[in-house]
Subunit: 255 residues, 4 copies
Amino acid sequence: MRGYTAPLTPEGRSSIVPPPPWHFSGEMLWISYRADPDACRALLPAGLTLADREANAAIVFCEWQWCGDDEAELHDPERGQFREALITLDCEYAGRPVARVPYAWVDSVVPLVRGLLQGLPKLPGAVHLTRAYEVGRASSRKAPGGRFNATLTAQGRRLLTGAVEISGRAAAPPALATQPFVHTRHLPGWGALPEQNDLVRSKVSGVEFGAVWHGRAKLDVADVEGLEVAALAPLDVLDGYVFAYAETLEPGGPA
Amino acid sequence: MRGYTAPLTPEGRSSIVPPPPWHFSGEMLWISYRADPDACRALLPAGLTLADREANAAIVFCEWQWCGDDEAELHDPERGQFREALITLDCEYAGRPVARVPYAWVDSVVPLVRGLLQGLPKLPGAVHLTRAYEVGRASSRKAPGGRFNATLTAQGRRLLTGAVEISGRAAAPPALATQPFVHTRHLPGWGALPEQNDLVRSKVSGVEFGAVWHGRAKLDVADVEGLEVAALAPLDVLDGYVFAYAETLEPGGPA
Amino acid sequence: MRGYTAPLTPEGRSSIVPPPPWHFSGEMLWISYRADPDACRALLPAGLTLADREANAAIVFCEWQWCGDDEAELHDPERGQFREALITLDCEYAGRPVARVPYAWVDSVVPLVRGLLQGLPKLPGAVHLTRAYEVGRASSRKAPGGRFNATLTAQGRRLLTGAVEISGRAAAPPALATQPFVHTRHLPGWGALPEQNDLVRSKVSGVEFGAVWHGRAKLDVADVEGLEVAALAPLDVLDGYVFAYAETLEPGGPA
Amino acid sequence: MRGYTAPLTPEGRSSIVPPPPWHFSGEMLWISYRADPDACRALLPAGLTLADREANAAIVFCEWQWCGDDEAELHDPERGQFREALITLDCEYAGRPVARVPYAWVDSVVPLVRGLLQGLPKLPGAVHLTRAYEVGRASSRKAPGGRFNATLTAQGRRLLTGAVEISGRAAAPPALATQPFVHTRHLPGWGALPEQNDLVRSKVSGVEFGAVWHGRAKLDVADVEGLEVAALAPLDVLDGYVFAYAETLEPGGPA
């Protein structure tokens, strides 16, 4: 019985998630902001501390294309595209800067399961980002004055709304976007099988940033009854960024 | 940090899957059939043997409503409904009859993740079943002559097609529907974290069958290039059943 | 070139909507309420007057199965099921009681287009209703104490939320549910083709009500920025009803 | 009562389709091919003749972003993005080259209804195209050797599959892509309201082509039981093209 994940089968070609490495290319709308530091700290596992600079958090909306080494997903694009939104916190672990994701949302099943396997706490949600096309008026422009918008709807509610109006090229991508992730690979117990809670460090290679544009941002986190994410609503919205990004992800080691 | 699954949060109300027990009520379209015994055996883990009676397999289409103990999902039905299709094999384990699911498909995220946690190898798919309503012509009837149809579309293909034409009441539900499941809770390794492969026995209580109707069945498993499920296509299609079913599911012990 | 709707083809089997009559069977959650009479009147075309009794409006959540005369949709249930929410106003036309639908939402394309053809102003939306199954705890019960819930999400927002707690059997269905519809079949102009605005009367036959249960209701219409439906939010929520319903719909005449 | 389409309301802001003009920007995967000329002719209304050159047809997969004059859809991108597949035939009308679309599919409601209003025979379907991002391995490249793939799934079946491998820049876009459309705005009768069948000419402005790349193409039209589109399966697959495209669409006049 073979396969990277269930279902395991004689030929191993039926797994819901194909084996790593996974290659990702996409577009990001990144909004740096200040969240309530205590609310951030309440979401950190032991060992991580909040690097509480002015911007201690970011909300990121992503449109991704991905594939395994055989590029099968590029040839059948129904399998190789998804959109994601996530909140990332600027942290330190063992004296070094890291990023920590307390919440993520994704619009399809394969990346959701892959997230759980690597410790990314993904929830289902619908994400949309304005796109820049080469021609025409129904297109945002990566140029001064260009406007990009993004939304997340989860559990039937518009939960996150973000916008960036570009003022110019940024000197560099946001620092938090270059820090490795420390995730918790958590699995509930099941009968005699014990709960698992492993701090893991992400392992990426082939990181590429396209041209990074930045500008003034807007950001809203809705206060939906019963959803805890409202605790991370912005106290202050800082810079917004728009850029293409790529990476290759492999299983990481312990943090 | 609390919660049954990720995301873990201060209040523990953000988990993608709420804690068990989970209560299920629904409608089943069940088709018993004979699959190639060697193809069935090739999908069994060590310890399970195929109980190779005339009907050694069934394909089941299900429409479910579910909730936790607080019934929150019944009050917000967007969260509490899903549809599922699965193949189940008639097996023995440690000398006793059990059921084994080599493939399952489900149309939404929460039951898919819950399946992986308990060892049910769920894949994404769209399932539809004809419904019986109390009145009108656009309704199937649970009565002689009543026709029920069901389909599964996965990866953009119509993969499973089933139909039952009711001839009368059955003396009992299909025996395989009453046998406990033995699943494999499989998780791939992640860096230094080892692969897991645990045989687990399902633990259900509160099992109820509604009136069980049966009749002549049709069943098709499409031979889609690259999908291994075609190995379980029917050699012979046997009885079909239509019935309501309920159970409560808790974490099971080792098999 | 043949067909009931586009695409017209040599064999006429490719139309998005098959030809009438259409048969419908389903479950309704019906909530009678009082809306602001001026807001109701502002939505009525010339000729219709508001019958301004205590309950002048209802919000109805519906789960439908439908088919044409050949029952093809019952045999391929992916095509024959949808869910709908609508607001209906208690009106008079030419001295007789009628119903008028200012807004409707539906979760799939074929019934949306069919709605436009007959003058039902359907918008896209996701509708969910609690279901009653024959067995189990994850099921509402059509019996005193039974609770039924329903929601509508449109444009990424939870727009309508309704609930009924059953107190007993009703003597009759709500009167408004038995009044014929007067719709406006509206089509915008297109170049030299003129705008159309035709008042049409619905023509139904084969109306059947299942057992009608009623009880205390809750109803919320969200005030989403930019959406005009908030003008019809309830001033007073009256009885709620739960019942199965069936009808056959044919093209109606002028009102 | 105001609005471009139903629902008509006091403020006219609730229409399912906002008023024209509509601006479109997007990416196209265009495959020129030879279909059976008789099958093409069987789909043409009186007045149109097939310009039966070697390539008499094309299948086009499109990813669109659109907005009205107020650009509201760009600011709420959930409303402003869709994907489409269509078949277009190379025709003549009144002695001039035109294009005729016998079948189109679209993945969301607003463009589907807008299609019907202008005479484009749109059906529901899921369309996916490989994307070119600025960086990374999980991206197609608009450069020699770049591969682009596209699929359409409708009624639960993978109906169209296309691929282009780029060999270089094309001297010009395909001629058929520059010819105006002649559509039939068809509406079934409804009771006393008569059927409508109006030949209309599309009216576009602001047409822009991005860089046009071309290369070797593959194309498959599945022969699904009951679907007439199989009559337009390719006899010979000719050039494939990949390009960005933009236009503004206004109501057209009679053909």
